[in-house]
């Protein structure tokens, strides 16, 4: 089996200008911050970012990396609004596709299944359709109900962070919520997983129940060992969110 270990900088080197990058986690929870930092340290620009947005969105916007953002929300959880994201929006710096968070899920699912779209009820009647004129509706061929035809959100790159992985890309989450990290991987052409610790496969299997194995190796192209690599966002049970570090980020962003 292939050894897929690499460095965060090597991951960033595979991200080219203008690519669409999906980022796992949710809000300020288990974000692949070490990989995001590698993007910040790289010269890459003009990215389309797809995310259940946490602090990585504001950071990438503030660094001028983002051309377009696809999101349902951006929040730091214990701090509702990220000033860097607000500034990017209020200055008109970035283009946006703001979606219902279920629509975002639906679009990733369509991409993962190689479908052009999937139907969903969310979005009808709301301004999501008005603000995204590219979104079409479709009549059910089985009775006529109108639904949103959510287009596939195809990703060039997915970046996720898990608790454990082996060198081949089998990955494990040990917290209570998988978020959508497996779906981000299935929706992407190139998939990179950072983790707290790379362990032998046998140790991975012994480390949790089988359903904690969120990714298997066919879903992952590169594995980065990055202890603390979700910080300051949470990566339970390895660590909780570092609230004081998040507060420092917020204070720096607001000034």
């Amino acid at each position: 089996m292939r050894d897929k270990t690499m460095t965060a900088a090597e991951v960033a080197a595979q991200v080219a200008d203008g690519m669409t990058v999906g980022i796992g986690g949710w809000g300020s929870r288990r974000k692949p911050m070490a990989l995001v930092q590698a993007l910040l340290d790289s010269p890459v620009r003009g990215l389309t970012v797809v995310s259940y947005g946490g602090p990585e969105v504001g950071m990438l916007c503030a660094a001028g990396k983002v051309a377009e953002l696809v999101y349902g929300f951006v929040s730091l959880d214990t701090i509702p609004y990220d000033p860097n994201f607000q500034r990017a929006r209020q200055s008109g710096q970035i283009a946006v596709r703001e979606l219902d968070e279920g629509m975002l899920h639906c679009g990733l699912q369509a991409a993962a299944h190689r479908l052009p779209f999937l139907p969903i009820r969310a979005g009808l009647g709301s301004d999501v359709l008005r603000l995204n004129p590219g979104l079409k509706t479709i009549r059910s061929p089985y009775g006529g109900e109108e639904l949103v035809a959510m287009p596939a959100l195809e990703l060039d790159v997915a970046l996720i962070h898990l608790n454990r992985a082996d060198r081949h890309g089998n990955g494990q989450y040990l917290g209570p919520d998988p978020y959508f990290d497996d779906l981000f991987c299935l929706a992407a052409k190139r998939r990179f997983l950072s983790c707290e610790r790379i362990v032998p496969t046998a140790e991975l299997i012994a480390g949790g129940p089988p359903q904690s194995l969120l990714t298997n190796r066919l879903m992952v192209d590169g594995v980065v060992e990055a202890p603390g690599g979700a910080g300051f966002t949470s990566c339970v049970p390895d660590y909780e969110r570092d609230e004081s570090a998040q507060r420092r980020y917020y204070e720096a962003a607001i000034s």
């Binding site: 929300f73 219902d100 009808l124 709301s126």
Partner: protein, 230 residues
């Protein structure tokens, strides 16, 4: 008995008749309301901890990560109580941004799950500080769908709005916001003065006061009285 106690019971009453559905209260007062409802009239309500677990009265009783929340939303067996940066006379809600969406004067959270919630299941709102900035004639961005935009939505049901001043509903056939009741100590005029559109006040009553038993339960559920911060 404080205003916060009245708001908690008004929020508890939102769930009357819901049975075995997922209650998703956003904010401390709706959360206390849902817990109070479960302890009194609606013992079968399910409550999430806001993370990935379902919490029964005795502790964790189930697992509900976000991917499963989406399933419950689509299934419809849920009653959400959301906040609102703006809400209008037909119950459209805005949590996205203030101003033009292309370049807002103030960016908020984003529409989050509000479009899907209102398209799929019962939805109520909680507004802790009733003002003309919140109660506007037309919202800037329709996040949660109101009645005038819901003609095609089979499962649309905006139930009520509870604010720190009163309780509001949307009676058929027009589904315009009505002042159902004012909280004890609040006048109808005070509500009108703080609302940016006309309200039907023809049948306005008084929000009920919590019973002794409810007050004791509220105290038990919130011994630190965090509800007083509204």
């Amino acid at each position: 008995m404080s205003r916060a106690d009245v708001c908690v019971t008004a929020c508890a009453d939102l769930f009357t008749g819901d049975g075995e559905v997922l209650a998703s209260p956003m904010g401390p007062i709706p959360l206390l309301g849902a817990k109070l409802a479960r302890a009194t009239t609606e013992p079968d309500l399910l409550l999430s901890d806001g993370q990935a677990y379902l919490l029964g009265a005795e502790g964790v009783e189930g697992w509900l990560p976000y991917r499963k929340v989406f399933d419950v939303v689509a299934h419809g067996s849920r009653h959400v109580v959301m906040g609102a940066n703006q809400i209008d006379r037909f119950g459209n809600q805005n949590i996205s941004c203030i101003g033009e969406h292309a370049r807002p004067t103030r960016q908020l959270l984003g529409v989050r799950g509000a479009p899907g919630n209102t398209a799929n299941h019962k939805t109520s709102y909680w507004v802790p500080r009733h003002s003309k900035r919140v109660f506007v004639s037309d919202v800037d961005v329709v996040s949660g769908v109101g009645y005038n935009n819901a003609a095609e939505l089979r499962f649309h049901h905006v139930h009520r709005v509870v604010s720190n001043l009163g309780v509001f509903d949307f009676p058929a056939p027009e589904h315009r916001m009505r002042l159902l009741s004012v909280h004890p100590g609040v006048t109808v005029q005070e509500v009108l003065d703080n609302t940016g559109f006309d309200l039907d006040t023809s049948g306005t009553g008084l929000t009920r006061e919590p019973t002794e038993r409810e007050l004791a339960l509220i105290e038990q559920l919130d011994p630190q009285r965090s509800r007083e911060k509204l």
